[in-house]
Structure formats: C-alpha cells, structure tokens
C-alpha cells in the first residue's frame, strides 16, 4: 500500500497550483480558528484573573454576581455566619472595587483595588520587590507588575500618589499569574484601608473567601450558604460562571462562534472545491487506474491520504502561523488577550478533519462512480 500512497502523494504535491490552493485554504482556516478561539480563551482567562490571582478555594457572594468586577457587597454579619458553618477552616473578607488614582503628573488612572483581610492577608500576591509586612505601614499599597503596570507610570517602592485625596505609598511590587481583562492596573492593600480610602456602600465585603477543612465539607458549606440566601462557589465553579457569562450573556461567545464557523466554512469551501476540481481533472486517470486493476478501496485510500496529508500540513502551518502571530502580538501589545489551549488546538484539529473528510467524501463519490468503460468510450 505504501507505493500507492507514494503515488497519491506525488500526484498531489506535483500539482503545485492546486496543492498550494489547498494548503492556503486549510492554513487560513486553521489560522483564523486558532486565532479566534485563542483570543476568546485569553478573554475568559483574563476575566477570571481575580479568582486565579487570589486563589481562594471557596468564594461566597451575592447570587446575582456573574463577573468579579461587578461584585455586590454582602452584609458583614454573613462573614460571622459563614465562619460558624461546620467544615469551615477559616473565612475572611475581600474588598474589591475600582478607584481613580491621581498620579504625580496630575492625571487620573482607574485601578482595581483589592483589600485583603488585615489579620491574615489571605489572597496576597507574590512579591518580587519589598516586604509584605509593609502593607500595614501608613498608606501602604502593593502594585501588581503586569501589562497594565506602566499605566501607573511604572511606580517604584516609595512612589506616592493620591486615591480619593488620600496619600498612597507603594511598599511592594508583586507578580500575579494572570493580568485582568479590562486593562486597568491592580493595587493591593488591607481591607480596612481600602474601605477608608474608597467611598463605600452600606456593606463593604465584596466576597468572603473560605477555606474548607476538607474537600468533603464543600457541599455542606455551599448548602448552608444557600440557606442564608447567598451563593458559595469553588474557584473552578466561579471561573465557569464567569466564562458562561461571557459566552452566553455578552454576545462575545456568539460572535466568536459565528466567526469560527465562518472560518471553517471558508476553509471547507476552498478545500472542497479545489479538491473536487483536482479529482475531476484526474478522473479519467483514476478510471484508467480502475481499468488497469486498481480496486475501489485503493483509490479511496489514495484520496483519503491526499486530503489527510493536506489537512495535517495545513493544520501545522495554521497553528504555527497563529502561534507566531500571538507571540509577536504579546511582545508588542502586553495586554493582548490570547491563550492557545489544548482545547483550541483540538477544536481546530477536529474541524480540519471534518474539512478533509467532507472534501474526501465529495471526491470519493466521484471516483467510485467512474466506470472504466467510460475511459474506453472516451
């Protein structure tokens, strides 16, 4: 069979014009599919940045919350109530809000302020400069050095600025696993300072961060929180909720889906049509092969091999091109949201297989139906 496949390979690649058209079609489709789905993955990861960066196991919140930025403050008594649930190892408050930071040059920069529990600093980021204890010093803030960091004029330790007419001092520079979606810098401070500096509503706790004693306690904790009229989610559940929100309630997911399907259809139509033309041009030759003694399954194997070879080569080129572009874009645009995940690659692979399969099917039908007698008749 290898000899027959070698012939199929030569028939394909020696027809340079058609082979190039097929490759361009598949590569372009894969490039767009990977690009679009990677951007969407990047958006979803960045949308969940707070959950990833804080790293709490269970988040207690108002049931209407579906996006960490739009938190709804919960009453202070809920913290005590949660702490009293059997199976809770500890529970701490988290402040989350947006404030306008006045820089030394007089400009204002909106920033996310996260207020950590004063006693434990649960959810604190990893410092790359400074000492975490300094967060308790007067006006102490820790700045996250991510893609948004330059928007605060790349502050150093000791840099001061104003938040709501309060003096703030950078006492530490931190790094986090993921930067946020909305392109604003992040500052950490204590919970107490956060509610002092930023005008607050009646209730001040955005989330209650809970650590269960064991994984088995999670279900019971969720049940008890629900009885109080609130929602407790594990970190994965919260990320999924955010992801679902962006997928189904913002239109982003639908648009990405439509564009991905369009890319798929473009790839399918280019490849299907080009491969069909390729087979049509060689139809008499395939008929001659049949007359000589080639069996139908051998011709099918040739066509499947040709479409698979084209599909896989185009897939490799498309993924490579997409990766290069994303790597290049991330270097040039630091907050560029695109993550190539195994799911994206798998999805593109499946779609390429479908493109190859449909193209083969059209071609195979044609080749199977060709009668060697037609070759004699001319």
């Amino acid at each position: 069979m290898t000899g027959i496949l070698k012939i199929a390979y030569k028939l394909l690649v020696n027809d340079r014009g058609k082979f190039a058209a097929l490759l361009v079609g598949i590569t372009f489709a894969v490039f767009l599919i990977v690009q679009l789905t990677s951007v969407f993955s990047g958006i979803l990861t960045k949308a969940s940045a707070t959950i990833i960066n804080v790293g709490a196991r269970i988040w207690v919140m108002d049931p209407a919350v579906n996006n960490p930025l739009n938190s709804i403050q919960v009453p202070d008594y809920l913290l005590d109530q949660v702490r009293s649930i059997k199976g809770v190892k500890y529970a701490v408050p988290l402040y989350s809000g947006v404030a306008l930071v006045k820089l030394n040059n007089g400009t204002y920069q909106p920033s996310t302020i996260l207020g950590l529990d004063d006693a434990s600093l649960v959810g604190r980021p990893e410092l790359i400069e400074g000492n975490i204890d300094d967060i308790f010093a007067d006006n102490g803030f820790v700045v996250v050095k991510d893609s948004e960091y330059p928007k605060l004029a790349s502050p150093k330790i000791g840099t001061t600025f104003e938040i709501n007419d309060h003096r703030a001092v950078i006492v530490g520079i931190a790094k986090v696993p993921s930067s946020t979606l909305f392109g604003i810098p992040t500052l950490y401070t204590t919970f107490t300072r956060a509610i002092q500096y930023i005008p607050s509503t009646r209730f001040t706790i955005a989330y209650i961060l809970v650590e269960p004693k064991s994984e088995q306690d999670i279900a019971y904790i969720k049940e008890e929180v629900a009885k109080a009229g609130y929602l407790a989610l594990t970190d994965q559940e919260f990320q999924r909720r955010i992801s679902d929100y962006y997928k189904y309630q913002t239109g982003i997911g639908t648009n990405i889906l439509i564009m991905t399907l369009t890319s798929f259809l473009v790839g399918l139509s280019i490849c299907g049509q080009t491969f069909y033309t390729f087979v049509l041009e060689n139809l008499a030759k395939f008929g001659a092969l049949k007359a000589i003694g080639a069996k139908s399954y051998e011709l099918i194997a040739m066509i499947l091999f040709q479409t698979l070879f084209t599909g896989l080569t185009g897939y490799g080129l498309g993924v490579g091109l997409s990766s290069l572009l994303i790597a290049f874009a991330k270097q040039r645009v630091p907050n560029y949201a695109a993550d190539i995940t195994y799911f994206n690659l798998g999805l593109a692979f499946v779609l390429v297989l479908i493109i190859s399969g449909v193209s083969s099917f059209i071609a195979v039908r044609k080749v199977i139906r060709v009668e060697p007698f037609d070759i004699f008749r001319g």
């Binding site: 012939i7 030569k10 028939l11 030759k285 007359a291 000589i292 003694g293 004699f376």
Partner: protein
Amino acid sequence: MPDAAVQAIDLVKWFGEEDIRTFAVRDVSFEAYYGEMLYITGPSGSGKTTLLSMISGILRPNSGTVIVEGKDIWKMDSNQLADFRLHTVGFVFQDYHLFPKLTTLENVALPLILKRQDWDESMEAAMQYLEVVGLQDRASLTPLKLSGGEQQRVAVARAIVSSPDLLIFDEPTASLDGATGRNIISFIRANILNEKRCIIIVSHDARIFEFADRNIKMEDGRVVEIVNGGAE
C-alpha cells in the same frame, strides 16, 4: 492451431431499458489465440469498444461468456475481476491516460505498484521496459513533454510492464500521424508480440491492417466477417 487465449461466446450487450433498448453487441462469438495480433474493425457505433470492454473484464455482458486462459471471467466478483485485469490484461487506451504529474518512469511502473511490488524494484523494472520501447532517456520527464508517438510508447511500456498475456489496444493510432502509427504497430508486432501473448486491437485505421493476423469486421453490433490479415 495454437491455444485460445480468449473465447467469446454468444456475447450480447444492450444499453437502456425496454422500448429504448439499444443493442451494442449481438451474439458475437470468436476466439483469439496466443501469438496472434487480432484486429477488431468497423465503423463508429459498430460495437468494437463495447466488445473489447467485455472481453477485458470491464463491462459485464447481458448474456454470453468470456473465457480467458480457461476461466469464465464474468463469474468473478469485482475484486477478482480487478485482480484479473491487473495480472492478465495490459491496456493501451486511445488517449493514453498517462498521469501528467508523474514522470514517465512512474507512469510505466503503475501496474507494478498496484501489484504491491517494492517501489525501487518497480522503478527498475519500469526502466527496463522503457528501454524496450526506446525511451530510457525520457524516464524523468513528464508525459506532457513527450510527443504523441512517445506517449503512445510509454502507454505500451505501462501495458507490458507486468508481463500480461493479453494486450488490449483501443484505437492505438487514432491520435498519431500515418508514419508514426505504422511505426508503433510495426514495433509492437516485432517486439511485444510473442507466442505466449495475444494482442487485440480495436481500430478503424486501415493503414495498419497489414500488421494483423486476422481481422474481425463488425457492423451494427454483429461480426460480419473474419478475414486473415496482412501479416506474414
């Protein structure tokens, strides 16, 4: 009398159904022998190509029998028929049907590759047959770079590369000028035909009839005459 390579017995073939049924071949019987170059001639629409297709295992007759090397080929299933064509029959088509994107050598080697022979061995054997037809120096060229006569010889090399006992030529000189056509047939007669091989040629080119051992003349799907040809 030499052994019969092909026996066609009462072959009938029609196309269409019921009222619009058209008979292409009616009750045709003949024998073709080893060492013989047999011509099937007649005007267009006389059933030559249909007859050729039935005796080479390509087109199933509506009735009648074709026995090649003692076997009734129309009792075979489709895979057996494909094997029969691959191992027993060599085809030279009117339009040659060479793959334009393969080299001449690869085109000639195709039947061997279909027989699952090793690639290098197939190419080696194909080169030997290109030498037989005098085109060894054209091995690496694609068919499009060859003249019509050269393409015809490549098609002949492809037909004989797997040493078939039965060679089928469909209008082999239709696309060639008179001199080239005569040269090709003369070459086939001298170099390809032997006592273990039977060659059947469908043609209406009267210029090459002198090379035939016998000539079956057809009209309206019937054999009207079998005459001895001009070959010595």
